[in-house]
């Protein structure tokens, strides 16, 4: 691997992400019909649908009741700056581009040995049972360099679709980029730092919101409280 000139990546604001899965759905839509597609689906309308997704959103609860917070975590390939999936690939199908740091899979060279996925601590690579190759997020490389698209459209599909504007895209090593500035100004962090893979994708931390509730509101003889209780029991709709 030579010197990486830049490092394109996603920056995801966990404070804004509402976990709507629109990014995952639009990712699937774009990548199914674009140059890297299709992303296979099995039994899509049946009891046990399965298939390849570049992007999956998980939801976690942090803290103890009643002081809990919900955290939605969209997770796709993090385009690590020291990607463990690259050196283990026996054919060189998995590689990191010197130009922009994007980690890609050459489907024509992939033998489907799955070793790259075994060496990814984030679970961001998926085996396509139809094409028999490993697939992963390409940062929509077929969009971001497509000069046929207007400049504002040359962004990953997930970034363009996010209704909460929680996703940002850019060169995290360029001090002029929005992605770089967000990471610096809002303490952007990476997943699993002890894995020592230097992920390029960053997350902006969730800001804790504390709602102060007057103790009197929660008293059993509070008329508002009683009304809420009776509505829950279905007596006064």
């Amino acid at each position: 691997m030579g010197t990486i000139m830049g490092q394109l990546a996603l920056v995801i604001d966990l404070n804004t992400c509402v976990g709507c899965h629109a990014c995952a759905v639009n990712c699937k839509e774009w990548n199914t019909q674009a140059e890297f597609g299709p992303l296979s689906d099995f039994d899509p309308y049946g009891e046990k649908p399965s298939g390849v997704w570049y992007n999956r959103i998980m939801t976690y609860e942090i803290g103890n009741y009643p002081h809990t917070q919900v955290l939605h975590l969209p997770k796709s390939c993090l385009h690590c700056q020291d990607p463990p999936c690259v050196p283990v690939c026996p054919t060189g199908a998995t590689f990191k581009r010197e130009k922009d740091g994007i980690v890609l899979v050459n489907y024509d060279d992939c033998i489907g040995c799955k070793l790259c996925s075994w060496n990814c601590p984030y679970g961001c690579r998926e085996f396509d049972e139809a094409d028999k190759v490993m697939k992963k997020c390409t940062l929509c490389i077929d969009r971001i360099y497509d000069e046929a698209l207007p400049p504002e459209q040359r962004q990953p599909a997930c970034v363009l679709t996010c209704p909460a504007k929680a996703r940002f895209f850019g060169d995290i090593e360029d001090p002029e980029s929005e992605a770089y500035k967000l990471i610096k100004e809002r303490n952007g962090f990476i997943l699993f730092p002890s894995a020592d893979t230097k992920p390029a994708n960053h997350y902006l931390p969730k800001v804790e919101t504390k709602v102060e509730v007057d103790d009197n509101v929660l008293k059993p003889d509070n008329p508002i409280f009683l009304e809420v209780l009776s509505r829950h029991k279905g007596g006064n709709r």
Binding site: K48, W53, I57, P90, G92, E126
Partner: protein, 308 residues
């Protein structure tokens, strides 16, 4: 981890092949052997490594592209395994043909190279798993030692049977002592490996999410209603349930039965059925043991799904 049967079969056939040829080669160096024994061993070892490569190909999505696995020799242990095992099989076959066709000892150079490449192949196989930092159970030199030792005891068990069937009683005894020592060392390494599994500190979901350790975190939603590649490849639910009932028979068949049979053979005299039974027990036991090895492997990506 989900156990790939095709790879387990490769471990066994490669172990029997590399180990048996090495055993016979060494005995030939020390005591000298009838050329028929060496020829038979070469033929069996070549067939076994070929069978192993055929079996391993079923693990691949694209078998016809398997040759491309030689391209990343400088960084990939899988690539090295493919190259070394290929050279091992090729050298053995050529050596077999030369020994069969010409009255010359020139094949010995090929045999030496075959032994070296065979063990480099075994080491590469072990390192595919040992070098994986994200399955902490595998990420130990005990894993490499066990792989090499397993190849040793499987191979010497087969070599003992070949020697005995060809009437080399004295050489069989030497091979039996080597096999017995390897079984005992194997048992010690496997116990140490299992003890280590209970001692090692695994990373937590807090580590994976880069949150402070004092914050309680739990998975509310895995993002899909059904399993996906990551939850089936890295977490074998059925296997986890079967593991406690399969590990004891793996220990019994891999170590206890062969150790008892080999001690009996050394102390009271060898017989074909004991040697065959010992070989069969070690092979079947190792199949179950390697199955357990995969199921025991806990991948850190499972943290995101709350499965670790």
């Amino acid at each position: 981890m989900h156990p790939p049967i095709s790879l387990i079969l490769f471990f066994l056939t490669a172990g029997l092949s590399i180990g048996s040829f090495t055993g016979i080669f060494l005995i030939d160096l020390i005591k000298g052997l009838n050329s028929n024994v060496i020829l038979i061993t070469k033929l069996i070892a070549t067939a076994l490594i070929g069978l192993g490569a055929f079996s391993a190909s079923f693990h691949l999505g694209h078998k016809m592209r398997a040759w491309k696995a030689i391209k990343r020799f400088n960084t990939s242990w899988l690539s090295r395994e493919a190259v070394f095992s290929g050279i091992f099989g090729f050298l053995l076959f050529i050596s077999f043909l030369i020994q069969l066709s010409y009255n010359t000892k020139a094949y010995i150079i090929l045999d030496i190279l075959a032994v070296i490449t065979g063990w480099l192949s075994a080491f590469s196989t072990a390192m595919i798993y040992t070098s994986n930092r994200f399955v902490p159970d595998w990420n130990t030199s005990l894993n490499t030692l066990y792989f090499l030792n397993m190849y040793g005891f499987l191979g010497t068990s087969l070599a003992s049977l070949i020697l005995y069937l060809n009437g080399n009683v004295e050489s069989t005894k030497i091979m039996l002592i080597i096999a017995l020592s390897l079984f005992i060392v194997g048992l010690v390494i496997r116990v140490a490996y299992n003890v280590r599994r209970y001692i090692i500190k695994l990373p937590t979901l807090n580590d994976a999410l880069n949150l402070p350790q004092n914050r309680e975190v739990k998975v509310l939603d895995k993002g899909s209603t059904t399993d996906n590649y990551c939850t089936t490849e890295f977490y074998y639910k059925k296997g986890k349930k079967l593991l406690p009932s399969l590990l004891p028979p793996a220990y019994i068949l891999t170590f206890a039965v062969p150790i008892m049979l080999l001690i009996t053979c050394i102390a009271k005299g060898t017989n074909t059925s004991f040697l065959a039974l010992s070989l069969m027990s070690a092979t079947v036991g190792s199949f179950i043991e390697r199955w357990c090895f995969f199921v025991e492997g806990r991948h850190v990506q499972n943290l995101y799904y709350g499965l670790l």
